[in-house]
């Protein structure tokens, strides 16, 4: 990896705005982690179309390794209260729900300022309803040479 991959929050990956689809665990594939371990340092969603109705969402990681267990990156949160311009994120603690609400500001990964270690796999987005449209920004730092995250 290049030395500048370690600057600030690391490498930024953006996912264009897309309508949320109903997906059970392990969720709709959003990002691929490949080539080794990475540290997830930020994951931020921007609401472009309000859900308007109940929609409980959370992120998971489905590991590539055979026998790997699907793990959550956050607990579920009903994003019904969000409107255009509101922000959605995770704290970094997998035991804590996603952070949303009708707010246009969010603390970035306050529970994991050094990041969340992820093995190669697919980061998926679970949603209980097809309500709302979001665009996403993910930041990461490679741990292993060749490790990377790409949008699906």
């Amino acid at each position: 990896m290049a030395w500048w991959d370690e600057l600030s929050l690391g490498i930024k990956v953006t996912k264009d705005a897309a309508a949320i689809a109903i997906d059970a665990s392990p969720g709709e594939p959003f990002f691929t982690v490949a080539g080794g371990w990475v540290r997830l340092t930020g994951l931020l969603g921007y609401c472009t179309v309000a859900p308007g109705l109940a929609n409980t969402c959370q992120f998971t990681l489905e590991p590539d390794a055979v026998g790997g267990a699907i793990t959550v990156l956050s607990l579920g949160l009903d994003i019904n209260g969000q409107t255009e311009g509101d922000l959605l994120t995770i704290t970094g603690d997998p035991g804590v729900a996603m952070v949303g609400g009708h707010v246009a500001r969010q603390q970035m990964m306050p529970a994991a300022p050094a990041g969340v270690v992820l093995s190669p796999g697919v980061i998926g987005f679970i949603a209980t309803a097809a309500e709302g449209t979001y665009r996403w920004v993910l930041w990461y730092k490679p741990i292993d040479d060749g490790a990377r995250v790409t949008v699906i």
Partner: protein
């Protein structure tokens, strides 16, 4: 954005010293966020003329999007005891009061070491009186291409 925008605390924006104006929510417009989401990584104020009497301050974000809700970056606090050269700042936790007192040093964003994500809008200073003069320094990192913060 340039790669150096992500170094250290990011891009610095200075607001020259001026008398505080009595302004209710969402506050006297101090900084404008435009072009996309940013990560606020620091916000400090330096007292150049002591308030001398009760003066309660807080920061709010008024989102550009019409449906957006005004949100606080900190809860209000009285800076009466601050004198020339004292420093006020925010912890990064919106539930914490603006950090102040008769102090010439303060921790920077101790509760949000990776910053606070902000949607486009106006950062305003809410003040309960016209007492005191301060200058301000804000640091940010663009979370999206084209996102900027400028003095309002």
């Amino acid at each position: 954005m340039a790669w150096w925008d992500d170094l250290d605390l990011g891009v610095r924006v200075d607001r020259p010293a001026e008398a505080i104006a009595l302004t209710g929510t969402p506050g006297d417009p101090y900084f404008t966020i435009a072009g996309g989401m940013v990560l606020l990584t620091g916000l400090i104020g330096i007292v150049t003329v002591a308030p001398g009497a009760a003066q309660t301050l807080s920061f709010e974000l008024s989102p550009t999007v019409g449906a957006g809700a005004d949100v606080v970056l900190c809860t209000p606090t009285d800076i009466q005891t601050a004198t020339l050269g004292d420093v006020v700042t925010i912890s990064g936790d919106p539930g914490d009061a603006l950090i102040n007192g008769h102090l010439a040093s303060n921790l920077m964003m101790e509760d949000a070491p990776n910053g606070i994500a902000l949607a486009p809008g106006i950062l305003g200073l809410v003040a309960t009186d016209t007492l005191g003069t301060m200058r301000w320094v804000l640091w940010y990192k663009p979370a999206e291409i084209g996102a900027t913060v400028v003095v309002a």
